[in-house]
Symmetry: C2
Subunit: 292 residues, 2 copies
């Protein structure tokens, strides 16, 4: 388990890595950071987000680490681990922050040394801004934390990342397997971003900006999107996302058919179903947080 | 123009009609209301939203009215006007609050007596709750007010409904023709509701409620929908809404193809376009309000 003596290393201090560092340090933990940007390291040191910061993966720094959080984009993380894993001490525990787990967790567990342990986890949090300069661990208070253990993970590793999420004050902590996680993310997060982007790019009328009401603004808020990261996440979860797009499109085509046929009664039924379901979601959100 | 002596009549005191009554009375105007619900009339009188309230369209009440706001659903409004127009005094000005204008404004102008004037207008405001019991004219402070004059309307009528919107403190006031209005609404409001409903009804996994983040909540907030009113609005604007659904679907299919082909570069370009456009929308919203 994590104690104030545990040497925690965060590799990649962007918005999420930086917010982890900020929260852990605020709670008295011993955090070291690596980020290739000198500005990020300088900022984090000045803010007290970590005690030591480096722009290179120095072997002696990696060797001292007991618990490592990889804050890099998924494929950059795999490259980094491939290049640097030999410097870790035996028994090192590594987790990540990736938004997709297929092709990441299994891949890392496959190529990593058998005497270090990789366990996937996903903080379902973010902001429309990026970088350590916008870090704020309070964004986790409204967020879910998902742990995606595989048969290669130990109960100790699961307990440690659960403790990490508790320290950072995530609202709920859940365990899912990789497939469950990626299906959930494919629907709730990736499909919604695909819809928002398509809605934003399908109409060229520039005048429309003057008339946008809350509905359109709500649906397109997430159309401001980090193009590098989201392309990567979409492609890593391609098959599941395509399934979700097809499922949603079929439902929209059903609505279109009812409209075309002038079938008021079945349109109303669809709206009633939608209203009832959305109300259930609000109830689910209002339920007591699962922090056990 | 409206003065404190003008006899204003509001027919149909739901959320919007009730909020109009509330705002007009708060500014010292003389408001009378008709609503078939005794509870609504009782509530509005008790709250001071209007000075006189009736549950029937009494001929002498209609005869006294100089400016009439029809707060009923679109087709109910047409039925009501057909049944009661003979009681209005010559020169009466009538406007509405309907969310669709084709098949409404032109129809009303067609069958109404030549000595009364109907001018379409649309307060682009609402809440997830309904009825006069939830009335609040402050919802207009963040909203657009659209006037849809036709060649049959007088400059005086346009100026009067513009004044109405100013009294109610709408953020912006704009004029559009009927086709422009319905195309704008078909895209910004109806397409977004069609998407939200389809997203809400396309997946049966009840567990998902536990994981919903802000993205999904934002996209489905409007999936709680008044099924009677929205079915009516969708069907009144059927052709335009279908065009918009098709345009959006084509864009989503484009994204799906890029994903299928693993075309990271063009996916990123699509995301960049989406991000740039959404930023423009925020700029447009932040521009000074057009209240002239």
């Amino acid at each position: 388990m994590l104690t104030e003596q545990t040497k925690i290393l965060i590799v990649g201090c962007g918005l999420i890595g930086g917010s982890y560092a900020m929260g852990l340090s605020a709670k008295g933990y011993d955090v070291t950071a690596i980020d290739q940007s000198p500005e990020a390291i300088e900022f984090g040191l000045a803010q007290g987000f970590f005690r030591r910061g480096y722009t290179e993966p120095l072997p002696e720094v990696l060797h001292k680490a007991e618990f490592v959080v990889m804050g890099l984009y998924p494929t950059a993380m795999l490259d980094w681990l491939r290049a640097n894993q030999q410097h870790f001490a035996p028994g090192t525990l590594i987790t990540d922050v990736s938004g997709v787990k297929s092709n990441i967790v299994d891949t890392a567990q496959e190529f990593l040394r058998p005497d270090v342990e990789f366990i996937g986890s996903h903080p379902m949090a973010g902001k429309e801004t990026s970088g350590i300069f916008n870090a704020d661990y309070h964004i986790f208070a409204a967020a879910n934390f998902i742990i995606t253990p595989t048969e290669k993970n130990t109960p100790e590793a699961i307990a440690t990342v659960r403790q990490l999420a508790q320290i950072l004050e995530f609202k709920t902590i859940r365990e899912l397997n990789i497939r469950q996680h990626d299906q959930m993310i494919g629907f709730l997060s990736q499909l919604t971003h695909a819809i928002a982007v398509s809605l934003m790019t399908c109409n060229d009328d520039e005048e429309l900006g003057f008339f946008t009401g809350d509905s359109f603004r709500d649906l397109t808020r997430i159309a401001r999107i980090n193009d590098v990261m989201w392309s990567e996440l979409f492609l890593l979860n391609r098959d599941i996302l395509i399934e979700n797009i097809d499922c949603f499109s079929a439902e929209l085509m059903k609505l279109r058919s009812l409209l075309q046929a002038g079938d008021r009664e079945r349109l109303q039924k669809m709206f009633q179903k939608s209203t009832a379901r959305r109300s259930q979601f609000d109830v689910a959100k209002a339920a007591p947080a699962d922090k056990k």
